[in-house]
């Protein structure tokens, strides 16, 4: 067992990809000389040189499009976008090209591209650096959306994404980069097709992803002290969405609470809730509940930002209310 951080795990994943496959290269804003906005790519320029660690101009559309073109022409690019809010400047390329070309060309042109970006709030960066738009990307057919929450997924999801013939977006929650943990040396691969049950309990299913996993686990500990046991499910991928795992959990607990840092209206939590209605309705003992990000652009002030995001206390309170109601 090796102690590491989420940041180092991502870096090691990139390093391994560069070592193993000459077609892989990394490009993005400040990935080289600066070492990455979140220091994820520190040292890679020295190790791999400027051909493979490419600092780009602040031209999100151009360098994301360049990633698509390079992927079409034999390379396996990893494109880093500094934060999810900046990815909006490249939406034309992501949606109109990356997600679309395979279908629009009648199956002739697949795009084996990986795009990584930081997501989420919690660092007082206000409304243009803090949103959680991964669920919104999950709306789009043609791309895959990954949300590594654990150090293990941070370490191994990239390789799985790079082996995929189609575009994969990886959302790294920016509050997780400093998280420490151990990596099991025996694990050298993760699939991206299955959600994972992190904690078993019979009373309620908490369905979440990304940093929501850690807040939900924290909440589950509080609840356990009160005799309420929660299943905590990390979705891991928002597209494709693994229905089986959360529906299986629901069949056991009969109560579903969805925790999502993204906005409630039209978000991934709404999609999960709809699927439960469509497929798991008769397993429910009570209506599905949600703890989501407040429907405001993210404020700067710490107390307001804390109030805008799901917290262990608000998650525990929601779960408690659900279990006590008919328990």
């Amino acid at each position: 067992m090796t102690t590491t951080t989420y940041r180092e795990a991502v870096r090691e994943a990139i390093r391994q990809a560069l070592r193993n496959d000459a077609r892989v290269f990394l490009m993005g804003e400040d990935v080289g000389h600066y070492g990455g906005c979140f220091a994820v790519t520190k040292g890679l320029l020295d190790e791999f040189g400027p051909e493979r660690i490419r600092d780009t101009p602040l031209s999100e559309s151009a360098f994301v499009g360049a990633g698509i073109g390079a992927a079409l022409n034999g390379m396996r690019p990893i494109v880093e976008i500094m934060t999810v809010n900046f990815s909006l400047l490249a939406l034309d390329q992501i949606i109109n090209n990356a997600a679309t070309l395979l279908h629009m060309s009648g199956g002739q042109f697949n795009v084996p591209l990986v795009i990584r970006m930081a997501t989420g709030g919690g660092k007082q960066l206000a409304a243009q650096h803090s949103h959680s738009l991964e669920g919104w990307y999950g709306h789009i057919p043609g791309i895959k959306v990954l949300t590594p929450a654990t150090i293990e997924d941070a370490r191994w999801m990239l390789a799985t994404a790079l082996a995929d013939p189609d575009p994969v977006l990886i959302f790294e929650n920016q509050t997780l980069y400093n998280m420490e943990g151990v990596l099991d040396p025996k694990v050298t691969f993760v699939d991206i097709d299955h959600a994972r049950v992190h904690r078993a309990g019979d009373h309620i299913s908490i369905i979440t992803y990304g940093v929501g996993l850690w807040k939900s686990l924290d909440a589950a500990e509080k609840l356990a002290a009160e005799g309420i046991e929660a299943d905590v499910i990390d979705l891991r991928a928002l597209r494709p969405l693994d229905n089986e795992t959360f529906l299986g959990s629901l069949a056991k607990t009969h109560r579903a609470l969805i925790v999502d840092e993204g906005w409630r209206s039209g978000g991934i939590s709404a999609e999960i809730s709809a699927r439960i209605m469509e497929i798991g309705f008769y397993d429910l003992d009570m209506p599905v509940q949600r703890v989501c990000g407040a429907e405001v652009p993210m404020p700067y002030a710490k107390h307001l930002e804390l109030a805008a995001l799901p917290q262990p206390e608000t998650i525990a309170a929601a779960a408690r209310k659900m279990v006590r109601k008919n328990g």
Binding site: I68, D92, H103, S105, Q108, N110
Partner: protein
């Protein structure tokens, strides 16, 4: 020059007659959606695309019938695509605006103005990183030059010395917005200076001039000079699409440009030089008519994609090497 000249005339006639048939088929409701005709601009596609090597790449726009035909995508596959048939060059998923052909290295048919430019950077970057001597020819119009993606792409291509031929078809209108209403600097070739990109402007109604300018640009790119911006000044004789009352330009202006019709002028020139006879042209026309009618028959006879296959090609069905 006469051999080139005859072939150029033939290629331009192919595009013209093919599209004239498309207009009929549109009226007959065989072709639907948007149909953007290239009529009037044929010299640009013929003069430029004919200079490319078979392994060079093309990224085109929604007005790409000409490029596809000159590149060698079969008229039948193109017509079937416009019919929305299975045997179309994109299995009926694309239509008139989205022709693709992996074998011919035609990467669309992009209907977002400017959207193909970033793509061309990556195609060229991959060639450069893998030490291949290919060029990516990226076609776009004067409208795209106002898009941010144009400016981002010119900058990045120049910075990384990417082998891209930026081929601007300046037909003076971004849909219905005239050049002077869309650009603070209307001499588009000047934009290249800001990015240290080599550039030239050429008479896009003269197929020989387009060919010579393209050849020069390709030589420059293949010698490692980096990207090249070539502005071809041309004119669209027909409406922007089939839904355009042409309120933004006068009939007199269109008539004035029609005097420079690239087919009529080349034909007159070749006749004047004694390089071609009226009988030669008639024979050419018959050959073209046969090709067009064969394409229509192919499209008419072809099968539809089964509806069960609707959701295919959203994700790959194969694992690439």
């Amino acid at each position: 020059m006469s051999t080139d000249g005859r072939d150029f005339l033939y290629q331009m006639l192919r595009i013209r007659r093919f599209e004239e048939k498309c207009v009929e088929l549109y009226s007959a409701e065989k072709i639907r959606g948007f149909l953007h005709l290239y009529i009037g601009e044929e010299a640009v596609a013929v003069g430029s695309i004919s200079c490319l090597a078979p392994d060079d790449a093309i990224v085109a726009t929604y007005r790409e019938h000409g490029q596809a035909l000159v590149r060698g995508v079969s008229a039948s596959a193109i017509m079937a695509e416009m019919y929305g048939k299975l045997e179309g060059c994109a299995r009926g998923r694309g239509g008139s605006m989205h022709f693709f052909d992996a074998q011919k290295r035609l990467y669309g048919g992009n209907a977002i103005v400017g959207g193909g430019l970033p793509l061309s950077l990556g195609l060229a970057l991959a060639d450069k990183m893998q030490s291949r001597q290919r060029v990516t020819c990226c076609v776009f119009g004067d409208g795209a030059v106002a898009e941010g993606e144009f400016h981002e792409s010119m900058n990045l291509a120049s910075l990384w010395k990417l082998p891209v031929l930026f081929l601007c078809e300046n037909n003076l209108y971004a849909m219905g917005t005239a050049l002077q209403f869309e650009h603070s600097v209307t001499e588009l070739v000047k934009k290249a200076d800001a990015y240290n990109v080599a550039a030239a402007a050429v008479d896009g109604m003269d197929v020989f001039a387009v060919k010579a300018a393209t050849q020069k640009a390709l030589d420059y790119i293949r010698a490692g000079g980096g990207p090249y911006f070539l502005e071809c000044r041309t004119y669209r004789f027909r409406a922007h699409s089939m839904f355009d009352a042409e309120l933004y330009r006068s009939k007199a202006e269109v008539q004035e440009w029609k005097k420079r019709d690239p087919i009529a002028t080349l034909s007159a020139r070749l006749k004047g030089e004694g390089a071609i006879t009226g009988a030669d042209i008639e024979q050419m026309e018959r050959k073209v008519a046969d090709e067009v009618s064969e394409a229509v028959n192919f499209a008419e006879a072809g099968p539809w994609e089964p509806v069960e296959d609707l959701t295919r090609f959203v994700y790959s069905e194969r694992t690439p090497s």
